[in-house]
Amino acid sequence: MCLAIPACVEQLIAENHAIVNLGGIRKEISLALVEDIVPGDYVIVHVGFALQKLDQLEAEHTLAMFAEMSALNKDI
């Protein structure tokens, strides 16, 4: 229940639902809690609901911070 996983939105369907692809598994979820989703977007899926649209820039920013943490004290 507690897992929230990123999934790619493949198709928008009736009643504000969508088909998402979770590593090859296709599943119907609700988009009631998010706005402006188009096919190709990544969303965080939790108990059958998209909780948040993932922001590519934000993810790149986080990865850049990981790289920065990894590069500190590289001479040690």
Binding site: M1, C2, N73
Partner: protein, 213 residues
């Protein structure tokens, strides 16, 4: 960007682990509480404890709604499930939780009660739609992430005019759990649980942000 593989770079992780070891002071101990059961799982699964220096200790936190639910609530759910004609819908996590007398929702189901495992609160609404002659109760548990889906289910049931759908609400809050720990005598008075920091639940912050902390 697929948001999974990019975050699983073992070379980078080992370099970060080496940097943590370099930055820590060998003269002291560090106690960090990971909030979520999901964190605890990931820490064990990926061997994070072995990557950390010996003086950095991970302490398991309260962030599993199944574990922190008072057992009386499971007993209440079992009583509901035993009501003739009632369908009790629950996330799978709750089904095996034993009560003091060794009962569980799974055993209650085996004895003939109509207990249905659902993946989503929306599935419970569908069950109510298909069974207008039965009262359908959704056993709602979880932190901030599971609460909005319960709210959507209630709105959906109202929009559909369902009079046979109710929610047994047991939702809980993350910041309250953290402050409860920090206020406890074990931490404040007796110093039994030294804490230097928390690892917070990121998916909770997708909903509440960081200000409540």
């Amino acid at each position: 960007m697929k948001y999974i593989d990019e975050f699983r770079d073992s070379t980078m992780a080992q370099q970060i682990a080496a940097n943590i070891a370099f930055e820590t002071n060998p003269q002291r101990n560090y106690h960090l509480m990971e909030f979520c059961g999901g964190h605890t799982h990931a820490i064990s699964r990926y061997g994070i404890v072995d990557l950390l220096p010996g003086n950095v200790h991970m302490i398991h936190g309260p962030g599993c709604p199944v574990c922190v639910l008072p057992i009386g609530r499971v007993e209440n759910a079992i009583q509901l499930a035993q009501t003739p004609g009632l369908i009790l819908c629950s996330y799978g996590d709750m089904l095996r939780i034993p009560t003091a007398n060794g009962m569980s929702l799974l055993k209650t189901k085996a004895q003939g009660a109509d207990v249905r495992m659902v993946y989503s609160s929306a599935d419970a609404v569908k069950i109510a739609q298909k069974n207008p002659q039965h009262q359908v109760v959704f056993f709602a548990i979880g932190f901030e992430t599971t609460t909005p889906p319960t709210a959507v289910a209630i709105k959906q049931a109202q929009a559909l005019g369902l009079s046979n759908f109710t929610v047994f609400c047991n939702h809980v809050l993350t910041p309250s759990a953290i402050s409860h720990i920090l206020q406890s005598p074990e931490v404040r008075q007796f110093g039994l649980v030294p804490l230097d920091g928390f690892i917070g639940p990121a998916h909770v912050s997708t909903l509440i942000g960081s200000r409540p902390y």
